[in-house]
């Protein structure tokens, strides 16, 4: 099988015999042992399958009901809100304009030279007397 290294060849070109042996009895009983193993594995699986569906169906139902109830509640709330909003829009009289809009309208007054001066004087808290006094003072004349 292995040739001399002197010939620079270690392995026999024709190959060799695999140097292990196993008794025939081992192979004779092998199929039966493997099938036994397979049967026990199958039995384990079927036992697990029998246990698991009973629990899982129950759990599944609980989860399913919870999920369904949650959906129903959500949809009911959403529908109620839409209904209330619709009724409110139809039957509650809405003011023509909101206070903010009114305020905006007030501030959008068109100024003329007269009312501008009045507003200005009100704002600075001076009246016509003060203005005349100021204009006729000596300081202003100088």
């Amino acid at each position: 099988m292995i040739m001399s290294t002197k010939n620079n060849r270690i392995l026999a070109p024709e190959g060799g015999r695999y140097p292990f042996k196993v008794s025939d009895e081992y192979f004779d009983s092998l199929t039966a042992r493997i099938m036994e193993q397979i049967d026990s594995v199958e039995q384990e699986i079927s036992e697990k399958n029998e246990e698991v569906p009973a629990q899982s169906t129950k759990l599944f139902d609980i989860h399913k009901n919870r999920r369904r109830n949650l959906w129903i509640s959500t949809i009911s709330i959403a529908a109620s809100l839409v209904l209330i909003a619709t009724v409110a829009l139809k039957f509650i009289p809405m003011p023509s304009s909101t206070p903010v809009e009114q305020q905006k309208a007030e501030t959008n007054v068109q100024y003329t030279p007269e009312n501008y001066n009045e507003d200005l004087m009100n704002y600075t808290m001076v009246d016509n007397v003060d203005v005349y006094y100021y204009l006729s003072s000596e300081d202003f004349g100088e």
Partner: protein, 181 residues
């Protein structure tokens, strides 16, 4: 090796009534061949026995998915090879030493299933230093004298790659044996 009618077996596998009996025939016909293919990788009887049983259990569980795209033995061989690799990884983790150290301690003479002399033990020690795929290729070529085309069908590797793999394996074995002389 006893031959089985693959088409007939495939039909019987589909039928729940005849499935178990058909699989039993598969085990009966292919277990011996498969045993040695696994042994080439794990190189120990007890481990080979474990891997072989796992292989058939996996095959049984995956039987419904087997549609006969490959030969039954090819399908079984690939499961066996994957199981062997998984086993080697687990063994490596358990021993927590690298492969090289593990190989150095391999003692085939102490193995009651070893049936060879010192030179054959040296050869097997050299073989055990090879990576799993090279072990397979080397053993199938050297011990079984299989054609590259046959090995190629089985392992799913090109003939060219197999030739290269075998060549490298021979070189490694030669160097190993020379280093021990």
């Amino acid at each position: 090796m006893a031959k089985i009618d693959e088409q007939d077996i495939l039909k019987r596998i589909q039928d729940p009534q005849s499935k178990r009996r058909a699989f039993e025939e598969i085990v009966n016909v292919y277990s011996r061949q498969l045993y040695w293919k696994i042994h080439y990788v794990v190189q120990n009887h007890d481990d080979t026995d474990d891997v072989l049983q796992n292989t058939f259990i996996k095959a049984w569980r995956g039987l419904d998915n087997f549609k006969g795209d490959s030969a039954i033995f090819t399908w079984l061989y690939r499961i066996a090879y994957n199981e062997s690799i998984t086993f080697l990884k687990q063994r490596k983790q358990m021993t927590s030493i690298d492969d090289e150290d593990f190989v150095e301690q391999a003692n085939f003479v102490a193995d009651e299933y070893f049936d060879g002399d010192n030179t054959q033990e040296l050869l097997m020690q050299a073989v055990s230093t090879l990576p799993a795929k090279q072990k397979q290729v080397f053993c199938m070529k050297y011990f079984e004298d299989k054609k590259y085309e046959e090995i190629s069908d089985l392992v799913g590797t090109s003939v060219g790659a197999l030739k290269a793999s075998y060549h490298i394996a021979v070189e490694k074995i030669t160097n190993f044996i020379k280093s021990k002389e």
